[in-house]
């Protein structure tokens, strides 16, 4: 009961309400020990770089919004694929966006590092499915 399934998860989103909601949901299903929130793509990339330099544990999963100031989700993905493969191979990225524009979903599919595209609002069941996808559901 006390152990969470994952060690580190990133939420990259500038919407405080969404941030709050995600935190609540992730806590409920004991998703991760650590949930770190970044306001935009640049902050998230900077955090990843820092963690790699300091030898800290990298996140198992990144929930990535698309529309953000300074560096949006696409910008983040473009930078992310530049990270050496051995460092990022275990990181799973889920795009979580309110956009129902098919062109956004098509574009997201073109990034091999993106595992799935979730349309907001996200709920508990969807997050449980994510765990299932990661092969962790048996342990619940």
């Amino acid at each position: 009961m006390s152990m969470n399934l994952l060690d580190v998860a990133f939420i990259v989103d500038d919407d405080p309400i969404h941030q709050f909601g995600m935190k609540v949901l992730l806590q409920r299903i004991k998703f991760s020990n650590e949930v770190l929130i970044y306001q935009n793509g640049q902050e998230a990339i900077d955090a990843l770089t820092q963690r790699m330099e300091k030898g800290l544990k990298l996140p198992s999963i990144i929930f990535l919004d698309l529309n953000m100031p300074i560096k949006d989700g696409w910008g983040f993905l473009d930078d992310f694929v530049e990270i050496p493969h051995q460092n990022r191979e275990k990181i799973v990225i889920y795009v979580v966006s309110s956009s129902i524009n098919p062109s956004d979903q098509e574009k997201a599919k073109k990034y091999a590092v993106v595992s799935n595209y979730i349309v907001k609002p996200i709920n508990k069941d969807q997050l449980t499915n994510v765990l299932d996808d990661l092969g962790l559901i048996d342990k619940v």
Binding site: D15, S99, N123
Partner: protein, 603 residues
């Protein structure tokens, strides 16, 4: 025999006198000159001294020696070298007054070869030129026609014409009426005529003739009319054909819906048609006092002159360009110009023929179409923005509301979480409300495009806005520099103008570069002929246009993560500017600064 000093010696007639023995006993100097003889012929035998005379002359002299009073004739002899000489002579028996010396013969002999040739030439040329003669004897009431005159009428040589028949050959109508009148006036008043009319020959051919008549008057009465009659059918038909083609060319030129001009080598208009006058708004008289250089748009003159020069040098036969003229109101007229060179018989250029198709209407339509396309593109962009707002912003609020209301109703959640959720519920609905009001603001700009634009002095407007935001400027220690000419007035909606300046200046201050000591904003304006450009330059953070250029003026786009950034300002600013017919462009470099240039229309 003693030579006689003849009194006739110096007479200008070539003569000689011979006696019964055919010896020369006198001669005139003209005789010697005419036949290239010396004075030693005196006393010599006439036929021995001049061996190459026609046999007929000898016979005539012998006749006279035998007592016949006079003989005359003219004959040709062919000389040994092949030349032929015409001789004309008169032989007379001189009366033997004293009866001592026997009969003497006067021989007048002339070489008339030249005269004869001229006559022959005349006849020949009359035949070639088909000139016949005719003569009306009003006393005997007869009409004589020469051989050629008969030929022209296509009647046999033995045809006997009279005045009535002669007139009846003229073609019924104009020709016959004219000749009848002329003959009448000739007989009554002695008036001459020289006219070109048509006759119908006996074989029914219609032939153009030139008829000349000269009445001879005696005591105010016409006794005779002589004249010539010439077949001019070939020439006349060619001339009529030429006149026809000239007339039809002139007709084409005058009535063409295409502008046409004859242009001299120096560019002066020699002739212009009414279509061209209409296109250019000038009268014909005005245009004929101008050259094409005067009315050509300066930017199009160089290429026109270059091609014209190639035409002059024979490198090309014609050229076609699209160019612009100025009309009489100095407005542009768009045309397609085709120029061809006209050369004279020597191959030198005499003038140019210009054909000018007015395509102003087409260009205007194209411009209108372009404008419509731009408008449609803009509206399409707006629609995309609306779609974006709906698919993203409205949806994101809706998603938040759904998620948070789930929390509020979920009793399994901790109380503090549910309390926070309630607060966030309010926040989410406020967000939704705000987005809807932004949408309304954008729609409002679109709807008010038709608002009447007023003339607004730019400088006082900028000063007023700066005064309104004095607090913001002071708070940020911003250094504002203004250089706007007092004279600039732009066309706009006052509220929009204020909003635009407010947005751009507050942006410049809001996105200041903290690392720089002073925040500088320069507001300047330049006055162009039809527009004025307001420039707002800052030394702030700058924007990476390669990455964000396309999105800069989009809705809900923010770039600096600034707390106040709503991502709505530039979108509305752009819409407002465009609704007043203006445009906005941006230049920027990260860490250096940003320049916004806003173009406004002037009155």
């Amino acid at each position: 025999m003693t030579p006689v000093e003849s009194v006739f010696q110096d007479a200008s007639i070539p003569f000689t006198i011979i006696n019964q023995e055919q010896s020369i006993i006198d001669y005139s100097t003209q005789w010697l000159n005419s036949f290239n003889l010396d004075s030693d012929i005196m006393g010599k035998n006439f036929f021995e001294a001049m061996p190459q005379l026609p046999e007929e002359l000898k016979i005539d002299i012998n006749y006279c020696l035998e007592g016949i009073k006079t003989r005359s004739d003219s004959k040709r002899i062919v000389q040994k070298n092949g030349d032929s000489i015409w001789y004309d002579w008169k032989v007379s028996l001189l009366s033997d007054q004293d009866g001592n010396d026997g009969p003497k013969i006067l021989v007048i002999l002339e070489n008339i070869t030249h005269k004869r040739l001229e006559e022959e030439l005349l006849i020949k040329s009359q035949q070639v030129a088909r000139i016949g003669g005719w003569e009306v004897d009003l006393v005997k009431n007869t009409l004589y026609w020469s051989k050629i005159t008969k030929e022209i009428h296509e009647v046999p040589e033995d045809y006997l014409p009279d005045l009535a028949k002669g007139i009846s050959f003229y073609k019924e109508g104009y020709s016959r009426d004219t000749i009848s009148k002329l003959v009448k006036e000739g007989i009554e008043q002695g008036k001459k005529w020289d006219v070109e009319l048509q006759i119908v020959t006996s074989k029914g051919n219609v032939v153009w003739v030139r008829a000349i008549g000269e009445p001879e008057m005696l005591n105010d009465k016409c006794v005779r009319i002589v004249g010539t009659f010439q077949d001019i059918d070939g020439r006349k038909r060619a001339q009529l054909l030429l006149e026809n083609s000239r007339a039809s060319l002139k007709g084409t030129f005058d009535n063409s819906s295409i502008g046409m001009a004859l242009v001299a080598k120096n560019g002066k208009f020699i002739d212009v048609n009414s279509s061209l006058c209409e296109s250019l708004g000038y009268t014909k008289e005005n245009l004929l006092n101008l050259n094409f250089q005067d009315i050509t748009h300066p930017d199009d003159l160089e290429i026109d002159l270059k091609l014209l020069n190639e035409l002059v040098k024979g490198k090309r036969n014609s050229y076609q360009i699209e160019k612009r003229y100025f009309n009489n109101n100095r407005q542009l007229v768009y045309v397609i110009l085709t120029v061809t060179a006209e050369r004279n018989i020597d191959g030198e250029i005499s003038h140019f023929i210009s054909q000018i198709v007015d395509i102003s209407t087409r260009i205007k339509a194209e411009k209108k179409l372009k404008g419509l396309l731009e408008l449609t593109t803009n509206q399409n962009n707006s629609l995309m923005n609306f779609a974006h707002i709906v698919s993203h912003n409205l949806r994101s609020h809706a998603a938040n509301l759904t998620m948070i209301s789930d929390f509020v109703t979920d009793e399994s959640l901790a109380d503090d979480i549910r309390k926070d959720s309630l607060k966030l519920l309010t926040q989410a609905s406020q967000g939704l409300n705000e987005t809807i009001s932004h949408l309304n603001e954008v729609v409002q700009v679109k709807l008010e495009t038709d608002k009447k634009l007023k003339s607004i002095p730019l400088k006082p407007l900028v000063e007023k806005v700066l005064n309104d935001i004095r607090a913001v400027i002071d708070e940020n220690n911003a250094d504002i520099f203004i250089d706007i000419p007092d004279s600039i007035q732009v066309k706009g909606v006052l509220a929009y103008m204020e909003s635009i300046v407010l947005n751009l200046v507050t942006n410049a201050i809001k996105y200041k570069d903290q690392s720089k000591n002073i925040t500088k904003v320069a507001i300047t304006a330049t006055d162009n002929s039809e527009t004025a450009v307001l420039q707002i330059e800052d030394n702030g953070l700058g924007i990476d246009l390669d990455k964000y250029g396309e999105k800069l003026f989009g809705m809900y786009k923010t770039f600096h993560g600034n707390e106040d950034a709503r991502g709505i300002g530039l979108f509305i600013t752009k819409n407002q500017i465009e609704s007043m017919g203006g445009k906005i462009v941006v230049e920027s470099q990260p860490t250096i600064g940003t320049i916004f240039k806003v173009t406004f229309l002037k009155q």
